[in-house]
Amino acid sequence: MEIKINNKIYEAKEGEGIFKVCKNNGIKIPTLCSSKEFQEGLCRICVVEINGKLMTSCNTKVAEGMEIITESENIDKARRINLELLWADHAGKCATCKKNRMCKLQSLAEEYKIENFHFIPRKGEITGQEELDLIRDNWTRVVVENENPCISRNSEFCVECRKCINVCPEKAFGFNHRGSDIVVGTPYEKVLDCSFCGECVRVCPTASLMDQNNYGEIVETLDDLKKFSVAVLDFGIEEKILEQIKIGISPEKDLNKLLINLGFEKIISLSEKDKDNEDEIIKQIKTDYAKQEKINPADIAVFFISSKIYKKKNKNEFLDYVLSEREVARLVRDKEKIKTGKIRL
């Protein structure tokens, strides 16, 4: 069928969402909550105008003869107000945030120049006593949980986009409470206990769900000249890492260079056929390889770089750290920051 977007005619298929049609035709619409698999229309940022009415483009389907406008004063106003409301509910700790410059909310807030002039932060650090008094009853429940071995959870950063809830194959998360008290959590707020496939961390747009690690120790190990750091790259991880750092972090396309720059001294890339014996290959580093190279195994630090974050709970004498593509990107980000001496946007 034919539809009109910004006064130009486009071809669209029955049942397609407007957002998708726009995307396919290179028309950019911002969104926080929708993805290829789920379009729930929760963030209300992807609004467009259809016959003068604001509608969310992600979950509104095309119809014959539809006329859609994707940029207008009202659209911009809606996006700004809704982003500002979200922003005020957010922790607002970008400078020290683990996800700084890798955060969807932050980049949208920058794009729409959200500076929060209207509201008092609801979550996060408050300094002045007056502010503290005002905010006392405004605190929403914040869930911080670091007791599980793989995923670090802090709802202070959560924008309630529901991506984690939707993507989780085990239905580990849900919305607890309602209204302004809503919080994404586990049933009865129990410690997260799942197979830790890491999908939720992958889709989280902010720093609410993060890879569990001891970041300081990792940096120290990599910087330690006495330590021989070995990176074992899982099959397929290379593109994922480059994908992560592509926007706003580093233009570098040579992964080996990046890793060496981070402090790795040896890089082992697994191929597809190594899938079933990766544990064996990892074990050989501190045994056979150490013997052959005459390195004291105690001086070797083995990093498995993989999306399989459940491996974090299987660390042992042969495997010191498991890093996901996001954690590598974060290491790169912080290295770049030191190199250039400032945060580049």
Partner: protein, 412 residues
């Protein structure tokens, strides 16, 4: 015409716990007439002729709704009676159960059979313990008389009736959230289309109707749709239960024809304003209702804002809160905003965050700490609530506040 009573006719005169009492005043005759003389499509036709429209607030044509479910080729269909009634200041539906539960039950059975449903649900607010017991009793008595179950009154018709008790959330009165709740999901609205009439409960065509709407149906079957259409306003005929509260002499629930003016209701039904009190404004339709000043009280209460010259207002649930000048507006603002920030399902940004911010600002207003920045923020929040929320609840939450700013000029 003014004295015509359809819903409240037997209130206080019969024992609601005894089916015999209801039978004594002609109860279940409409069901008998349907079973013995009418085809399901004739029932739907009669309801269409009556012009009956939904008493749950939106005023959608009941006949059209039933027809679209009836005409759906899918074999499995459901009928749901909406007895959630969480709108502040609204307590008409539960009074129907208190006073004449069998009238409602008869309406449910006829409506369900007319659309070809084999199963009907009564979705009741979890706080209505007493009404649930009354209904359970009525359902039991009706089963003994074979008014529902297998082979109703010896016919080929079968129907199961089940009461489903919600948890008492305002949003679960919204039909898609209600359906989610029966399915065991989180009580939050779903994107429409598809509408419940196309794909509702368990993916099947479903008609959701308000308890008061349904209670009109036995009368329509017995007296005919044409007779019903003669009552009240042309564009939304019938009688309506109005709930008057606040600074009136006799607060309570009154049945009156649609098209009546707010003034008439206050003066002639509720005994006027209490002595020593001075009228300020009336809120029509619950916490989500608009505010009306004295000069607007001649407006006729309707479901659709008419095109005619007459000033008319949408009555929503039918509640009328009369506020006098001694009322502290801060209390009201906080009560409204707190209600919506608690009852928002919390899934979409403008409603979850916006209702919270309005409440926060209302409290600062009370404490005399309101700033210009807050007033600007209120403008933005009301705008986004009106234009970008997922479901009508978000929009509802802006109505009273907006009128308070624009009509009552609270900021000055």
């Amino acid at each position: 015409m003014k004295d015509i009573k359809i819903i409240t006719e037997h209130w206080g005169k019969i024992d609601p716990l005894k089916i015999e009492d209801y039978l004594g005043v002609g109860g279940y005759e409409a069901l008998g007439k349907f079973i013995s003389k009418m085809k399901p499509e004739e029932v739907v036709e009669e309801i269409k002729k009556s012009g009956l429209c939904g008493r749950g607030g939106a005023g959608f044509s009941t006949g059209n709704k039933l027809e679209s479910v009836a005409n759906n080729p899918k074999a499995e269909k459901y009928f749901i009676c909406n007895l959630e009634e969480s709108e502040p200041g609204t307590y008409k539906d539960r009074l129907i159960v208190d006073n004449n539960p069998h009238l409602l039950l008869e309406g449910i059975i006829i409506s369900a059979l007319s659309i070809g449903a084999k199963r009907a649900y009564i979705y009741i607010n979890g706080n209505f313990e007493k009404q649930k017991e009354i209904l359970e009793r009525a359902i039991e008595q009706a089963k003994e008389k074979k008014y529902w179950g297998e082979n109703i009154l010896g016919s080929e018709y079968n129907l199961e009736i089940e009461i489903f008790s919600g948890a008492g959330a305002y949003i679960c009165g919204e039909e898609t959230a209600l359906i989610n709740s029966i399915k065991g999901n989180r009580g939050e609205p779903k994107y429409r289309p598809p509408y419940p009439t196309q794909a509702g409960l368990f993916g099947c065509p479903t008609a959701v109707n308000n308890a008061e709407t349904i209670s009109n149906i036995p009368w329509i079957i017995l007296q005919g749709g044409k007779e019903y259409a003669k009552i009240g306003a042309k564009n939304s005929p019938g009688t309506k239960l109005f709930i008057l509260s606040g600074a009136v002499k006799n607060p309570g629930v009154y049945e009156a024809p649609t098209g009546i003016t707010v003034k008439e209701l206050i003066e002639e039904y509720a005994g006027g304003i209490q002595k020593g009190k001075e009228f300020w404004f009336a809120q029509i339709g619950g916490a989500c209702g608009k505010l009306f000043l004295e000069k607007e009280l001649d407006a006729k209460l309707n479901f659709s804002v008419g095109t005619g010259r007459d000033l008319s207002v949408q009555m929503g649930s039918g509640s009328i809160l009369v506020v006098d000048k001694s009322v502290n507006i801060h209390d009201l603002l906080i009560s409204w905003t707190d209600f919506f920030r608690r009852e928002s399902c919390g899934k979409c940004v403008p409603c979850r965050e916006g209702t919270f911010r309005l409440w926060e600002i209302a409290k600062r207003f009370r404490d005399n700490k309101i700033s210009d920045r807050d007033k600007e923020a209120v403008k933005d929040i009301l705008w986004t609530l009106n234009n970008t929320t997922f479901c009508p609840l978000g929009k509802f939450s802006a109505t009273a506040f907006q009128d308070a700013v624009e009509k009552l000029k609270i900021w000055k």
